[in-house]
Amino acid sequence: MPLLDHLILDHLWIIPLLPLLGSAINGLLGSKWPKKIVNSVALGSTGLSFLVAVEAVREFLQLAPDHTPWVQSYFTWIAAGNFRADFALQIDQLTVVMLMVVTGVGFLIHIYSTGYMAHEGGYYRFFSYLNLFMFFMLILVMAANYSLLFVGWEGVGLCSYLLIGFYFLRKSAADAGKKAFIVNRIGDFGFMLGMFLLFREFGTLDFVTVFQKAGGMPPDALGHLGTLTAACLLLFMGATGKSAQLPLYVWLPDAMEGPTPVSALIHAATMVTAGVYVVARSHVLFTHAPTAMLVVAVVGCATAIFAASIGLVQTDIKKVLAYSTVSQLGYMFLACGVGAFSAGIFHLMTHAFFKALLFLAAGSVIHAMGGEQDMSKMGGLSKKIKWTYLTMLAATLAITGAPLFAGFFSKDAILLAAFQSENGGAATGHTLYAVGLFAALLTSFYMFRLIFLTFFGKQRYDEHHVHVHESPWSMLGPLVILAVLSIFGGWFALPAFWGGPDYFANFLAPVFGGGESAAAEAASHALELPFAGIAVLTALIGFGIAFWLYISRPGKPEELAKSMRGAYTTLLNKYYVDELYAAVIVKPLIWLSTIVLWKFIDVAGIDGTVNGIASTATSVGDTVRHTQSGNTRSYAVWVVIGALVVIAIIFFWPAAAPVSGMVR
């Protein structure tokens, strides 16, 4: 029916508006309401948003190919000189994926939160913030120009700050919120510069226009810093801040101070993927800037292994997952950096499923343990919290790339693409592949370490103090749904080799361009089975080492830690990066602020000037006072001086001389 065909597509603004309404209602009125009403408002708005998004997707899929991307501009937001930015929302295939992930996983996490936060104070505030986050995230993924995207970008940063510091009475939480926001800001600085460059180059920030124009430009040469390369590098700097890559990842582990649903939603499934989304969205720009692509790939790969190495020795269950997130985001950037954008987005989707599941399940464990987060104080929980254990196991199998689970296909695609990458020479591609593979081994190791420490082995807690109990179904329900997605979600992208029609890459083809050429496809077919085999082997090796260390020889980890004391403490202290930043950046800044800006400029300079003027007036008055000596002869002298001055002026400054002819 014609009416229904475009009903939602014409009114895309409904999708972000619903959570905004929910946030406003809960925020303004919720403090007096009972939990049930707050729940219905929050869940209702998010759930409705999800349903509307589903309908929008359905309508979109019916559109003829030449109508995509579908852009709707609702009002002119900025019109200044040559610059125009509209409040314009768009849908294309990439948006569809992001939309489903954000609204779907978001809705599940909202349900989970009703159970998890049931005993916490500030209940209405939590849901208000959470809904506000949904609003900004939806703006971000649906924006049709960089300015509106940046609004969403900043907005999710704000919500992240609010939610990390949710327990604001705890100093560490407040500090973590500040750290997140400030580090994000540094990245945003780069992002803004990138936007300015793009505007200067293309005269607009509309995606459609910019990508059209950029598509027609010749690509920058490798190593040459053209405008496109510079813009891409700057946008990527923003992405490193938002998506926690080197060097701006330091906020993410600290962000674990926030409640666990926050970690799941914001710091696993959605906000941190915004950087990957931006790079993928700007793929036209990036493919024209090989230097930027190389940087993205290298940074992603380096981050992947760096974070994985830190995760090996952490004892806080959430910290392990945090570093795991950083590492997996590195994989996504690696994918984008070698040109496999659809693989990167695919990994984004599967990662959303299993990482959200991991965090939620960890939250369930923490809830069961009465708030304990230290794995060294857990153990032997598998029988006691069965559902939590099973779902978490499913997620672990997904993340380590067990065959047929979701992570298997996505990670495989990335590593294959990295191996085949020619940017910067074939050797670079091979190195990226090797490092990525090693990081996969580490991933497998630390994830199974987590499982073994938490659910197996000796019971390392006191039964009398901790009453282990399974979580309510409001929490377990989403866990189960996400587990199903983690297991079967990968079949979307069943590669041709395995007999499937690679739905995912084909679906995204209109956005990212077609697949490889026939020859390259044939080559990759030939490599796929061996590579898949190597990947599974690596995962098994990781599993084996973890099993040996934590099940067979429980005392071995301690011995190893003692014998490799130096390496162990370095990893445990996160390579001292935070300390390095504090010494190199924070301390000098604080010194600068205190000594230069405060003491020197503000106190001495500005105050000095103002006070100085006052004291100058006083001292001038003090000096001039002496002319009022009461001594007539002095007055006489002053009169004569005055007369002399007047004569001098008349004589030397012809303009002032009323007497003509007298002066030369």
Binding site: V637, W638, L644, I647, F651
Partner: protein
């Protein structure tokens, strides 16, 4: 050296000596007498320039009235020789340089003015008293009336000021 020039120099020298004497005398009465000498010399100069009315007025009013007034006041107040107080440091320091500066300025101004080189053609009498009176009562009648008013005010002021206290 024409006769006029010689007379000029004599009278000029007289005036300058009188003025110098005014500075260097200790007793005010001597200063007053020196000032009278200056005025007479100036009257002579006016005569030399052919301004006889002004010369006459100078002698009558300045010499005969104002200076007499000064002498009377000196007598009334029993002014004695000057004391040597030095309350004003400024005058002591800046006095001489200022005077020199002033003189220098004026000298420079005069020397550079183009007016001076001219020598007036007629040395004889400017059509004098008649012209002056005509000008006085035609173009300058307003200031003239004002000056009469001024004198009235001065008289009143002097009377009020010099009254004895009504004790």
């Amino acid at each position: 050296m024409t006769p006029q020039l010689a007379i000029f120099f004599v009278l000029a020298m007289l005036a300058v000596l009188g003025a110098a004497s005014l500075i260097f005398q200790k007793h005010p009465i001597h200063s007053a007498l020196s000032l009278i000498v200056v005025m007479v010399a100036l009257a002579g100069l006016y005569l030399l320039m052919g301004a006889e009315f002004v010369a006459a007025v100078q002698i009558i009013v300045y010499g005969g009235a104002i200076m007499v007034l000064f002498v009377f006041v000196i007598m009334l107040l029993n002014a004695g020789a000057e004391e040597h107080t030095n309350a004003s440091k400024l005058a002591g320091i800046a006095g001489i340089p200022l005077a020199v500066a002033l003189l220098g300025f004026l000298a420079v101004v005069v020397a550079r003015s183009s007016e001076g080189a001219q020598v007036s053609v007629q040395s004889g009498a400017l059509a004098n008293t008649k012209e002056i009176s005509t000008m006085l009562f035609k173009e300058f009648v307003y200031p003239f009336e004002l000056t009469s008013f001024l004198i009235l005010v001065a008289i009143l002021g002097a009377i009020v000021l010099a009254q004895r206290e009504k004790s």
